[in-house]
Symmetry: C2
Subunit: 146 residues, 2 copies
């Protein structure tokens, strides 16, 4: 039940893009410096995010990346789902043919419930929320109200 480094870095990457939303884009180098993450690693992580249409890019000098949509229109669920390769905490939840016991499995219900809660929770937080929290806080603790 750990969240991967990929997804965490991806979230911070997307946060940086949200912070600079409206400007002319930001380079990976800048993001890597701001967040203290390897630029090379970020360049791997950004590929699927771009492929799924969350990000647009500009090549050449003064190039960089920008969000494809408004930060309020991108939630954490999408980001984590893309970077973790799906949000199913258990393969048999989506594909019940994987386990012939699925139909009578005594524990399947709990995992399904848990999975839905996770999705719900991530879906309720947008990049805009992250930016707002970040701008509001100055030492005080974060609070989400869902």
């Amino acid at each position: 039940m750990k969240i991967s480094t990929r997804a965490r870095y991806g979230a911070r990457l997307m946060f940086e893009l949200a912070l600079s939303y409206g400007d002319r884009g930001i380079s990976l180098r800048e993001i890597a410096n701001n967040e203290g993450i390897s630029e090379k690693y970020l360049s791997q992580i950004i590929i699927p995010l771009k492929a799924k249409g969350l990000i647009i890019s500009f090549r050449g000098p003064c190039g960089g990346y920008a969000l494809a949509r408004d930060p309020s229109e991108i939630n954490l669920r999408e980001i984590v789902e893309i970077l973790e390769g799906g949000l199913s905490i258990l393969d048999c939840l989506n594909n019940s043919s994987l386990c012939k016991r699925s139909m009578k499995c005594p524990t399947r219900g709990v995992w399904d419930l848990l999975n839905n809660k996770i999705i719900q929770t991530l879906e309720a937080v947008t990049l805009r929320d992250l930016v707002e929290e970040f701008l509001n806080k100055s030492g005080d603790n974060l609070t989400y109200s869902i």
Copy 2:
């Protein structure tokens, strides 16, 4: 964000113990047969559950295992926590000294929120619930109301 096989098998193991609660205990062999899980592997998984006091054991012929408490007094949170070695989806949530950025981290709040939801959800389901669901259902889908 996958749930480990250990935790899943552990949950089914505990479910079997809950099913036979009140009887004179059940052997690992029987549990392994009922659930179609390697007995050897289960014998590894059961060690920490016993160490944490969720299970008691009887050695020798006619020996076996039994729940140490009533099924209604054991929830899924305990089981998963023991078998996953903690329920923190991210180490820095418990130990903020692990990351010097913790205090100003823009994403820490979401992970913390998600972590709490997961704990809440697992805590709300007891072994008794699992047994009841199992006894009630005969083909119809599982439903939890939390």
